[in-house]
C-alpha cells in the first residue's frame, strides 16, 4: 500500500480545484476531435456543414460554453483560463473547416491566390490596360504583396497550401486589439471575456478568410485601441514627445491599412471623427493623419480605379434602399439556405438587441464607455455612402460588432456600480469577488447557485454559440470545392492557350481567376436577364454564338461545375434542372467537344467554325 502520509492534506483538493476549468475544456476539445474524425463532408446538402457534423461537435460546443461561463464568473480563476476557453472556441469555430475539407473554401479566397500568383509572375504592378477590372487589386496591393513574399519565403507552390487556416490566424490576431479596447473601459474580467466570446460567436460574416479585409480589420481595431488608450484627455498635458511617437506608430498602421483595402480606411475615418466629438477624445491628430494618408493614396496609386468608379459611387450616395439591398443572385432559395440565412439574421439581431438592452440598463457603464458606444455607432452612416457591391450591410455589421459585443455582454452581467457605491459596499463588508479571492486561499466555497432568472444569460450565450455554426458554415455547399472539381478546372488552365475564353454560369468555382492576365472569362448569369433567358431557351446555339468571337490559336471553353450549380440554385438564379438541361444541350451540340468530365462537372471546348 502506498504511504501518502507525507502529502500535505490540502494539496490534493487545492490542486484539483485550481485545475478544474481544464476538465470541461479538455472534454470539449476531445469531443471536437472525435467529431472531426467521424464527420463526412462528401455529401453536403443545403444545410452545409450543419447537417454533416457529428453530434459530438454540438456536445463539445455546449460543454465549452458551460465551462467558460462557470470559469469566467468564478473570481478565483485567472485570466489565462478565460483565454484558454476563447482559444478553444476559436479552434472549434474557425479551424473545423480547415480540418474537415481537403481544399480551401470560398471562391474569393481562390481569387486572392490568383492575384498573388499574378504578382509573382509579373514581378510588378500593372494597370487596367493590361488587366482590365482586375487591376483594382494592383492598386491596393499591400496584403497580396506580403503574401507573395510569404509564399516565396516558405518555399511553397502557392497560398492555397496554407490559406485554409487563415480564419483561425486572423481571429487569434483580432484578440489582441479587442482585449485592449475592452480593458480600456473596465477591469471586470467577466465583462471583458464575455464580450470577447460574444464578438467571436456573432462575427459570422465570414470576412476572416484569406483576404485583405481580414488583416485590415485587425489593424483598424489596433488603431482604435491605441487612440482610445493614448489620446484621451485624462492622460495629462505632458509627454508631447510621447504623443508624437504614438502618431508615428499609428501612421505605420494606417498606411498598411490604406495600401491594402478600400473600405477599411473609410470606416476608420468615420470612427475617429466620431470620437473627436466627445470631450474625452477631442484630439484631431489621429483623424487628420488618417485622412491625409488615405487621400494621398487615393490621389496617386488608386486614382485610376477611383476616377473610373467615382460616378457610380457618387450616384449611390444617399440611396439607402439600394445600398442595403443584397442584390440579384443573393436571395436565399431552398429550405437549407433560408434556414441558415435566418439563423444568421437572428444571431445578429439578438446581439444588437442585447447591446441595446445593455446600453439602456447599464447607466454607469454607458457613461464610462461612451467612446465605445460611438465606435459601434460610427459605421452606421456608411449605409448612406455606398452599397459596396451589395455587401455594405454585412461590413457595417462587422465594424459595429466590437462595440456592440461589449454592451451585449453587459446586458448578461450584473449592473456596474458607481465608484462611490462600490466603496460603500466594500466598507460595509459587501461581496467583492476579487478582494475575497485574493485574501483567501483555495479551496473556497463554490459560487452561489444560479437563481431561476440567472439561467437566462448562460442559455443566451449557449444559443448564440450554437447559432454561429449555421450562420458561418450553413452555405458550405456553395463554398466548398472538392479536389476533383479543382482537378477539372486545373486541366482547363493546363491546356488553355493565351487569350482563351472560359464561359461558365458564375464565378463560384475554384481557380476561377487563375492566370487572369492571359485567360478571359464570361459568367453568363452576371449578364442581362433577357440574355440569360435566351441562353436557357436555346443553350448550345446562344453560347456558341457568344463564344465564336475567340480567334485561333486561342480557344473558347465551356465549364459547368457543382460549385456553380450550388451557387445558382441556392441564390435564386437557375435551378439544378435548368442547368442540367443546359449541360445536355451543350453535350448534344456538334459545335462542342468534350475535354474532361467527372462527378463534379464537365469541360467542353468550342470547335473552330470551319
Amino acid at each position: 500500500m502506498t504511504d501518502l502520509s507525507d502529502l500535505t492534506p490540502a494539496a490534493w483538493p487545492t490542486r484539483a480545484a485550481a485545475a478544474w476549468p481544464a476538465v470541461p475544456l479538455l472534454v470539449a476539445l476531445a469531443l471536437w476531435g472525435y467529431a472531426m474524425r467521424h464527420t463526412d463532408v462528401s455529401p453536403l446538402d443545403d444545410y452545409g456543414l450543419v447537417s454533416a457534423l457529428h453530434p459530438t461537435f454540438w456536445a463539445g460546443l455546449a460543454v465549452l460554453t458551460a465551462g467558460f461561463w462557470t470559469t469566467v464568473r468564478d473570481p478565483r480563476r485567472r485570466n489565462c483560463w478565460s483565454l484558454a476557453y476563447v482559444l478553444g472556441l476559436l479552434v472549434m469555430e474557425r479551424a473545423t473547416q480547415a480540418v474537415l475539407y481537403p481544399t480551401p473554401l470560398y471562391a474569393w479566397a481562390w481569387k486572392h491566390d490568383a492575384v498573388i500568383d499574378h504578382l509573382l509572375t509579373s514581378g510588378g504592378l500593372q494597370s487596367a490596360d493590361q488587366l482590365g477590372e482586375m487591376a483594382v487589386y494592383d492598386q491596393w496591393p499591400g496584403f497580396f504583396a506580403a503574401q507573395a513574399a510569404l509564399v516565396r519565403l516558405l518555399g511553397v507552390d502557392n497560398a492555397a497550401m496554407y490559406m485554409a487556416w487563415w480564419p483561425l490566424v486572423s481571429s487569434v490576431l483580432l484578440l489582441l486589439p479587442l482585449l485592449l479596447v475592452y480593458r480600456t473601459f473596465t477591469e471586470d474580467r467577466r465583462l471583458i471575456w464575455t464580450a470577447v466570446w460574444l464578438f467571436c460567436v456573432a462575427n459570422w460574416v465570414g470576412q476572416d478568410y484569406f483576404s485583405p479585409q481580414s488583416v485590415a480589420f485587425v489593424l483598424h481595431l489596433g488603431v482604435i485601441a491605441v487612440v482610445l488608450r493614448r489620446y484621451g484627455r485624462s492622460g495629462g498635458r505632458g509627454g508631447r514627445q510621447g504623443q508624437a511617437v504614438w502618431t508615428v506608430l499609428l501612421s505605420v498602421l494606417v498606411t498598411a491599412i490604406v495600401v491594402s483595402h478600400q473600405l477599411t480606411p473609410g470606416m476608420l475615418v468615420v470612427t475617429l471623427v466620431a470620437l473627436v466629438f466627445t470631450r474625452r477624445y477631442r484630439h484631431w491628430v489621429p483623424a487628420v493623419t488618417t485622412v491625409v494618408i488615405f487621400l494621398a493614396w487615393c490621389l496617386t496609386a488608386a486614382l485610376p480605379f477611383l476616377s473610373a468608379a467615382m460616378p457610380d459611387m457618387i450616384r449611390s450616395i444617399g440611396d439607402v434602399g439600394a445600398n442595403v439591398e443584397t442584390g440579384y443572385g443573393a436571395t436565399p432559395t431552398g429550405t437549407g439556405a433560408v434556414a441558415t440565412s435566418w439563423a444568421a439574421r437572428l444571431l445578429s439581431g439578438s446581439v444588437l438587441l442585447l447591446a441595446l438592452v445593455g446600453v439602456l440598463r447599464q447607466r454607469v457603464l454607458r457613461h464610462r464607455a461612451l467612446p465605445l458606444l460611438l465606435v459601434a455607432a460610427a459605421p452606421l452612416p456608411m449605409f448612406v455612402a455606398s452599397s459596396y457591391g451589395s455587401e455594405m450591410i454585412f461590413r457595417v455589421l462587422m465594424f459595429t460588432l466590437p462595440g456592440a459585443a461589449f454592451f451585449a455582454a453587459a446586458a448578461l452581467l450584473p449592473k456596474v456600480r458607481t465608484l462611490a457605491a462600490d466603496a460603500a459596499a466594500r466598507d460595509t463588508g459587501g461581496y467583492s469577488p476579487v478582494a475575497v479571492a485574493r485574501r483567501r486561499r483555495l479551496p473556497l466555497p463554490s459560487p452561489p447557485p444560479l437563481r431561476y432568472g440567472a439561467w437566462v444569460p448562460p442559455l443566451v450565450l449557449l444559443a448564440g454559440t450554437l447559432a454561429f455554426v449555421p450562420s458561418y458554415s450553413g452555405k458550405d455547399r456553395i463554398n466548398y470545392f472538392p479536389p476533383r472539381e479543382v482537378a477539372l478546372v486545373q486541366r482547363l488552365f493546363d491546356q488553355a492557350p493565351d487569350d482563351s475564353l472560359v464561359v461558365a454560369a458564375n464565378r463560384n468555382y475554384p481557380l476561377a481567376y487563375e492566370q487572369y492576365w492571359r485567360v478571359d472569362h464570361y459568367w453568363f448569369l452576371d449578364d442581362d436577364r433577357r440574355h440569360v433567358d435566351e441562353i436557357v431557351r436555346d443553350p448550345a446555339a446562344v453560347l456558341a454564338r457568344d463564344m465564336a468571337a475567340v480567334e485561333a490559336p486561342a480557344r473558347a471553353y465551356f465549364l459547368l461545375t457543382q460549385g456553380q450549380t450550388a451557387n445558382s440554385e441556392m441564390n435564386g438564379q437557375l435551378d439544378k434542372a435548368q442547368l442540367e438541361r443546359l449541360r445536355e444541350s451543350v453535350a448534344a451540340s456538334p459545335r462542342f467537344e468534350l475535354i474532361a468530365e467527372n462527378s463534379t462537372g464537365v469541360l467542353y471546348v468550342l470547335k473552330p467554325a470551319s
Binding site: 496591393p141 499591400g142 519565403l153 518555399g155 486589439p177 485587425v218 489593424l219 505632458g238 464610462r368 476579487v434
Partner: protein, 163 residues
C-alpha cells in the same frame, strides 16, 4: 557627495537588456539562414513566420518604448487590481509588436513590388536590416514626467462625474 555621471544606473545596459534588444535582429538573420532549408520545411516556416510576425515590430517598440510610456494610458474608472494597468501596457506592447511587424512586411513588400525589385529574399533581407538598425539605435527618451503624468497620480475628476 559624488558628482553624477552622465550615465545613471538606470541607463546602464544589463546583459539581459542586451539579449532582449538583440533578439529581433537575431531572429531575422536566423530566418535568412533558414532559407537554406528545403521549401515547405516546418523549421524554415517557423523561423520565417516567427520573425515576420513579431521581429520588426518588437525592434520598433524597443526604440520608442521610453517615449511611449511618457504619457499615461487611459484606464478603467475602477482601480481594484494594482497589476491591471501594467498588464494592459504589456498587452499593448505585444499588440504593437505584432501589428507593426505585419504592417512593415506589407509596406516593404509593396514598395519592392511597385519598384519592380520584388523577391521574397529581398523582403526578408530588408526587414532584417531595418530590424538590426533599430536594435542599434539609441532609445527615444521621454520628457521628465510632470506631477500630472506621473505613474500613480490620481486621475482628474469632473464635477458631477459618476466615476
Amino acid at each position: 557627495m559624488t558628482p553624477q555621471s552622465a550615465t545613471t544606473p538606470q541607463d546602464a545596459m544589463t546583459p539581459q537588456d542586451l539579449m532582449i534588444r538583440m533578439l529581433p535582429p537575431f531572429a531575422g538573420w536566423l530566418a535568412l539562414a533558414a532559407l537554406a532549408l528545403p521549401g515547405g520545411s516546418p523549421l524554415r516556416g517557423a523561423a520565417v513566420t516567427a520573425f515576420l510576425a513579431v521581429g520588426p515590430g518588437a525592434a520598433l517598440v524597443g526604440i520608442c518604448g521610453p517615449a511611449l510610456r511618457a504619457r499615461r494610458a487611459e484606464a478603467p474608472a475602477e482601480r481594484r487590481d494594482p497589476n491591471f494597468e501594467r498588464h494592459s501596457d504589456l498587452l499593448e506592447r505585444l499588440m504593437l509588436a505584432v501589428l507593426l511587424s505585419v504592417s512593415a512586411a506589407m509596406l516593404v513588400a509593396t514598395v519592392l513590388i511597385a519598384a519592380h525589385a520584388f523577391s521574397g529574399d529581398r523582403v526578408l533581407l530588408t526587414l532584417t536590416l531595418l530590424t538590426t538598425l533599430a536594435a542599434f539605435c539609441p532609445r527615444l527618451r521621454a520628457s521628465p514626467p510632470t506631477a500630472s503624468t506621473a505613474r500613480g497620480a490620481a486621475p482628474r475628476k469632473r464635477k458631477g462625474s459618476t466615476l
